[in-house]
Symmetry: C2
Subunit: 449 residues, 2 copies
């Protein structure tokens, strides 16, 4: 019989551990202390009643599961949610997204957008995300206020590194960003992000990757989002994108390739051998008609794949539960095989596999003792979640972001009974509405209704 005082005790829920053994514990308890999961078990375990907690959460009727991990997004782009849709990719980028970004991206937009995005993410069950955008120092400030867990990756592209002076300046800014936030790990983990092989020269890719190696941080890039990227790179360098990156030496276990819609089987084996991780963003790639990543084949080849929403301008939400549902269904119909990407596989991609992609699987992604307490409660006591035969199916195919009731990150309750505790969401909404009003008033975009 153990003596202990927990900070938080969650009782009565069905615990979906997402551990290696995929244990499910009905009528469970989870004890949290000092930000860690300190005990997990059944309510009738011997010794249970002697535990005391500062705060108790009744999880009756709920699934208790690891908070979800969104492996790729550009959170300040919530400011552009629905600004321009149903357009060809290059028209969307050239006429709407890039001109608006040029004019409206600044620290305030990034901060306000980040706050609103975090409200949305917490309200739909995400506890960890990987962001890639500009002014990541500002994003990290917003994250530290809210108390989410994040990999925050500062973006690079040749446009900002066109000569040595500019490039040196950019690297210095990035280095200061990493130095500032590295001590916040593992709540905030700084990283670098090269936009893509077609917007970053070999020199830029090598220089940025070398810098990440020196600092021991992650290196991210968009890769093979669109079909024509292969031809673009082939024409420019005489080799395909993955071969180019491999020859440049930037592919290793600390590299995350985002999208990979057009990855070949041979390229998958390179990724598997080198330990390159993949972030799969099905909804964004469907909406932009970019393609469907061959994820079932990647999994067979042994590539680690996590799920992501991408930014709000191409999704148009940050809801990981909806992303799971779509991920399962798109691969079934694409492969004409209803057995691929089953509910359990997809739920892993949204939790423990996503954690592996971000190099955080020792700390998060499953509910096990001594891991960080990143936990969500999903309220299953609702008409659209009745009856309940299979927890994984219900979570992936029938649940919605709005069913997430309570969220704990790093042992701290950030949402309780749908009430956000670390974000003033009304202010966050008002601030972003003002930014949107400015964008509309500047007539940079034509808002058609």
């Amino acid at each position: 019989m153990q003596e202990n005082n927990w900070d938080i005790l969650i009782t009565g829920g069905t615990l979906i551990t997402m551990s290696a053994g995929m244990e499910i514990i009905e009528d469970s308890f989870v004890g949290i202390k000092d930000g860690l999961i300190s005990a997990v078990g059944r309510n009738n375990d011997p010794g249970f009643p002697t535990f005391k907690a500062k705060e108790s959460i009744n999880a009756s009727g709920c699934i208790v599961m690891p908070g979800m991990v969104n492996t790729h997004t550009h959170i300040p782009m919530v400011c552009f949610r629905g600004m321009a849709d149903d357009l060809p990719l290059m028209e969307w980028l050239n006429k709407y997204i890039w001109p608006t970004e040029m004019r409206f991206i600044n620290k305030k937009m990034v901060y306000d957008g980040a706050m609103l995005a975090m409200a949305e993410m917490i309200l739909s069950g995400t506890t960890t995300f990987c962001d890639s955008y500009f002014f990541e120092n500002t994003t990290a400030e917003a994250i530290s206020v809210v108390g989410m867990r994040a990999v925050v990756s500062q973006g690079f592209a040749d446009i900002f590194m066109s000569d040595k002076v500019k490039a040196d300046k950019m690297m210095n800014v990035a280095e200061r960003f990493v130095n500032r936030w590295q001590s916040y790990a593992p709540l905030i983990t700084p990283a670098y992000f090269c936009h893509s092989p077609y917007t970053c020269s070999p020199d830029t890719l090598i220089r940025v990757k070398d810098a990440t190696r020196e600092k021991g941080i992650l290196f991210l890039l968009h890769l093979l989002e669109n079909k024509d990227e292969t031809d673009t790179i082939l024409n420019r360098y005489g080799k395909k994108p993955v071969q180019l990156l491999h020859d440049l030496g930037v592919l290793d276990e600390k590299t995350i390739a985002v999208h990979c819609n057009w990855l070949t089987k041979e390229e998958m084996t390179i990724f598997a051998d080198l330990g390159v991780k993949v972030s799969h963003n099905p909804e964004s790639s469907m909406k932009l008609a970019s393609g469907v990543a061959p994820v079932p084949e990647m999994l067979i080849q042994g590539v680690i794949v996590g799920l992501g929403t991408d930014g709000c301008a191409s999704n148009n939400d940050l809801d990981m539960i909806r992303e799971m549902d779509t991920a399962a269904k798109i691969h079934k119909v694409t492969s004409m095989d209803p057995t691929v990407m089953n509910a359990q596989t997809v739920l892993k991609m949204a939790t423990i596999e996503g954690a592996k992609v971000l190099g955080l699987d020792k700390l998060i992604g499953s509910i096990e003792t001594d891991k960080k307490a990143d936990i969500i409660l999903v309220d299953m006591n609702q008409p659209h979640l009745t009856p309940l035969y299979n927890y994984y199916s219900q979570l992936v195919y029938a649940s919605r972001g709005a069913d997430v009731k309570t969220s704990i990150i790093n042992g701290k309750i950030v949402m309780k009974d749908r009430q956000l505790l670390t974000i003033d969401h009304k202010t966050a909404m008002d601030n972003v509405r003002k930014i949107a009003a400015d964008i509309i008033n500047q007539k940079l975009i034509t808002v058609s209704v």
Copy 2:
């Protein structure tokens, strides 16, 4: 200045009319009397303040739009939600769905399932649905209690019509069902449903279609859900399914073909010429890996297409908003064209086009004076729906079923501020949980977690 007393007055919302002109009215009012929309306009219209209403609804921050029309479902199958997933179609049917249906379908299961399904549908913005299952007389009784609008179609298949005595009995039962409910139109509209060309003989198809002609009711059937249906019918009858049905004379403007995943361009022109309607159920067909219906081409050919969820065992929800999002995205990526199936087109399919499929477009599907008052309010004042550039985009790509705040059917409020007024959802959930417990206890299915 008109003198009037409305039953319900909805003010302050943004009205998405879905009328032929697709008018959008900000700061709108909608007056409802005797089940009808009696006035629509802007709040500053002259004469507005003199109107009085028994009940006023403040729609500030909301979109006011037509209730959604689900053109195909099997509502009692909510009892099987998540019972068996990620399986090949024939294994799913033969090992799980059909044995369970054989054993557990009875009037009580149909009634309890219908009540739960209607709770879910109202809570996610559906006001009209088209159901096809067994014991539709019982389903209609449940519908009349709740006050939803529905086309209720009694199912036929050769298994129930194997000899003349059985067939005559089945036709008599069906005829009594139609006679009983025909006077409830247009709230309840009886119809007949032949399961498919591969489970119904030419004789059955002709006999049932003739009966619908006599009664002036709709005739529905599953068609070309799976790729191999073409070969099955070709081998059996020496012609493809659409040609078979055409030659049998069962295709006309009162026929609804459900799925049509493998419809050819030539067959589309037949449908367009004859006025045959199509119900498109993308999520179900993705999950079962049945195929992707060529809807963009159908629309070009002039076929009327509505949206549907199919039953809960293959979706696994009845959420039309999620269905819209998936419908838009799957066609973009399948055709590799991000401009097809834009948000407005998809929202039409979920409202006015769905009403056309069901032959109810003179009455519902848009918000216009003298139409039936089937209206929903969607609460846009939420983080995941901020900012707001384009109403159609926001509804299709970012909203969720849980954002529907209030629902009015036939001029009666059936949900207000997320509270169901005509269904006791707790009892409905308990009843279906008992059915599920029986199914699990009978070990007809192995519930794997």
